[in-house]
Amino acid sequence: MAGSAKGGRFRGYGIVRRILSTLVSMVLTFLGLTIVTFFIGRVIPIDPVLAIVGPKASNETYDRVRLEIGLDLPLPVQYWRYLSKVLHGDFGTSVITSQPVLQDMLHVFPATLELAVLALIIGVVFGVPLGVIAATHRGRWQDHLVRLLSLFGYSMPVFWLGLIGLLLFYAKLGWVEGPGRLDIAFDDIVPTVSGMITVDALIAGEHDVFVNAMQHLVLPASILGYLSLAYVARMTRSFMLGQLRQEYVLAAMAKGLSGFRVIWIHALGNVWVQLITVIALTFGSLLEGAVLTETVFSWPGLGLYMKNSLFNADLNAVLGGTVLVGVVYILLNLISDLLYPLFDPRARGRS
């Protein structure tokens, strides 16, 4: 398969190959993911039958349910059954909610997505500039301040931050609303379109609902955003330090470009390539659902759903959730792969 002829065809070939290899790795990742989760789900110490029938059930009921969910079959057969169902879009029914897992996902994932998007925006909008400032003021008080801020965000338990945040901004100051996604007075006003209440409220043109949803959203999102900020700022700082050492920076300065332009346009421009990966990873971990944050804020998102499912040995729900998270990561990887060429001209020609 020697590369031939002109650049144009070479480039086309590269894209095809990239898409192919991405697809293959997606399928492999997906398979690996389902295998690992499936078998972990079968060895956890909680008995899934007991989770359904309760500890007082008779043996007869117990045995019947065990047959119903197919636990008497050999593991590989169970796995094959599961996989073939999943490939048809059937993730089974959740024990806890009695609904198809896919439907549950469509309900809990938007709640987490809403939180994650706002948190990511906060993390990036504040984190990147802070990182740049820390890098350009290396060793000075600005740098120390940013590092202290990051360290604090890193080391404080999110659980504690959430409770303190609630105590201060909800209970004492009354600036934001408390746990939950909406006040009960606003429940079920806007029709569900995206599942993200803020977005749905905008679609329905319900200004009051939007404001209330934002008041509920802003605190948990800020806290998660702060944690992302700590990571993004630290990474930006180290990437920037790398760039500032490069000769082109010195050259640009020598040519008389303003410091502002050199730092914020040229150096930061080059940092974006690396930052995309960092941001994608941050977004990925936000989308997994933050169990502790969701617990403190009674936020019915993916994290809380997964925790509950796991503790109740709700295997279908755990598997469905894991597959969803896996797919999200695969997609984020794909997107950041596709974004590279936008920021790095060299990546456009490379295969």
């Binding site: 007991l50 500890p55 007869e60 806890i96 009695s98 939950g180 404001v211 617990t295």
Partner: protein, 528 residues
């Protein structure tokens, strides 16, 4: 930097204006903050979790009831009056005139369908009715509508009439609207799939919505035959974190908080907007001792261990306000309950008993314990006090569900867990604590005595006799005797009965948490 400030200001703008406007809950709506993640179905033929039964008891009327106005008195629910044949086998109920939420009258046909479907569905609570002798094959003959307003059923088992009537107050005796359930039937499930999250009922509330792990919304049924509820809506909000429950309550966004910890309750002491009320619960908290274990086989060892528990030390400290000492298997409030509490913390006596049993130097035991509060604290206290008698305890912490699995397969030595009665009759506990006639590895049911390998044919016979006794005074005496035997010799260190403190907004009246979830009613709750 400017950009940042600007953004922050823009983000904050809409937040400053509208905050105080919706601080309190609406006057006709009661908001209850509670952990409701145990709720997995609202179909009364399947529902058997604490939160689920509590919600369902407010949605569905039952054949008979202990009702909100006087929870100690057995009265008719859907039934108006009833008669029992002299041999105690045939029960005939005359129904009162009442309506389902959609206006359809409640008929004997609906009641017969409701009782039959419990057996046919064969879900977790079905065992309540199978003990009457009903099976899939005979239930349609045993339970019948003999007239539009007369229901008659026959039991084949030998049971005291008071026990049978008490079973008719349990979740499985909920009246389901036959036509509506069958309209939503799928693959012969008698509407089970649909009823998990919808209601076809005639009780005090209509189910508006149940969002798993989020909320349950109930709307008052003004035509309820015991009278319209004092409020319009009741909302149960799932608030997993108790500190968040506390904040919602103090802020007025919740009217009742159900899961606060003792220190959180203590922090409310000076708050005049909130009151704390404590209700007796019916859970028995105990440590079980597997008799299959070499040392625990010896009754002297079991007795010694009962003297090595610091009952009072625990209820005076970390369990304060949530438990009281109760060493028999029937909770206070039940027929036949006793205040026989013979054991106190007495290491000297315990050591003497252990020496008599041939273990003056003590031995090692494993203790399975759920890994959450207050189990952890109880386990630590037990470890410490048993150690004083020379018994070295190693704690095996695990998720509650996993501990229950260990228990069910009798793989434990010592294990702490709790037990709640299934219906309002002493037989429910006696049948588990004091019955084991088949000690093989595959018995038909796994009563608690079996789970501890305690083989007791004679005591089991007494339990069966008590369940059949027609004379209530005699029946009470039999249960008192049974409890004494189990407490003295049994494999259970019965320690505490639960009590449930609830934090309630000061302007809210009429909330009363029942002895069991079957009698926790919302319809008298009112906001002033």
């Amino acid at each position: 930097m400017h950009r940042r400030l600007l953004l922050a200001a823009v983000a904050a703008l809409p937040l400053l204006g509208a905050s105080a406007a919706y601080a309190a809950t609406p006057a006709d709506t009661i908001v209850i903050a509670k952990q409701i993640d145990d709720l997995i179905s609202l179909d009364p033929g399947e529902d058997y979790e604490l939160s689920g039964v509590e919600v369902a008891t407010n949605i569905y009327d039952r054949l008979l009831r202990y009702e909100a106005d006087d929870v100690s008195k057995l009265i008719g629910g859907a039934a108006e009056s009833w008669t029992i044949s002299p041999d105690g086998k045939v029960f005939t109920f005359k129904l009162r005139q009442s309506e389902f939420h959609d206006g359809t009258p409640v008929t004997a046909e609906d009641v017969a369908f409701s009782l039959q479907r419990v057996i046919i569905l064969d879900k977790t609570p079905a065992f309540l009715f199978t003990q009457l002798g009903w099976t899939k094959d005979n239930v349609k003959d045993q339970v019948k509508a003999t007239a539009p307003d007369v229901l008659q059923f026959t039991i084949t088992a030998d049971l005291a009439p008071s026990l049978v009537l008490n079973l008719m107050t349990s979740i499985t005796a909920s009246v389901v609207e036959k036509k509506l359930a069958l309209e939503h039937e799928e693959k012969g499930d008698l509407g089970n799939g649909w009823l998990k999250s919808h209601s076809a009922a005639s009780g005090a509330y209509k189910l508006v919505a149940w969002k798993p792990n989020e909320s349950v919304v109930l709307e008052a049924n003004p035509k309820f035959h015991f009278g319209a509820p004092s409020n319009k809506r009741v909302i149960l909000r799932h608030v997993p974190e108790t500190a968040s429950q506390l904040l919602l309550l103090t802020k007025g966004d919740a009217d009742v908080a159900r899961n606060l910890s003792p220190d959180q309750l203590a922090s409310l002491a000076g708050n005049k907007d909130v009151k704390v009320e404590t209700f007796a619960g019916s859970d028995s908290w105990y440590m079980s001792m597997n008799v299959a274990e070499e040392h625990l086989k010896n009754p002297k060892v079991r007795q010694a261990i009962k003297y090595l528990v610091d009952y009072k030390g625990m209820t005076d400290s970390f369990l304060k306000g949530r438990f009281f000492i109760h060493q028999t298997f029937l909770p206070q409030g039940f027929l036949g309950a006793s205040d026989y509490n013979p054991f106190t913390f007495d290491p000297a006596k315990a050591k003497a008993l252990l020496a008599e049993a041939g273990y003056p130097a003590g031995f090692d035991l494993k203790l399975d314990a759920p890994n959450s509060s207050p189990w952890t604290e109880i386990a630590q206290s037990l470890q410490q006090t048993l150690g004083q008698g020379g018994i070295k305890v190693s704690i095996q912490p695990a998720e509650l569900k996993s501990v229950l699995g260990t228990y069910r397969s009798r793989k434990h030595q010592l294990l702490i867990v709790n037990w709640g009665p299934d219906y309002f009759d002493p037989h429910t506990n006696a049948d588990s604590f004091a019955r084991n006639t088949d000690n093989s590895d595959k018995p038909a049911t796994k009563p608690l005595a079996w789970r501890n390998s305690w083989y007791i044919p004679e005591i089991s016979a007494e339990t069966a006799a008590a369940a059949k006794e027609l004379d209530t005074a005699k029946r009470i005496a039999m249960y008192e005797d049974l409890q004494k035997k189990v407490t003295d010799d049994g494999p259970f260190v019965l320690m505490f009965q639960s009590s449930q403190p609830d934090a309630i907004r000061a302007n809210v009246t009429g909330f009363h948490e029942g002895l069991t979830e079957d009698i926790t009613f919302y319809r008298l709750i009112k906001k002033n």
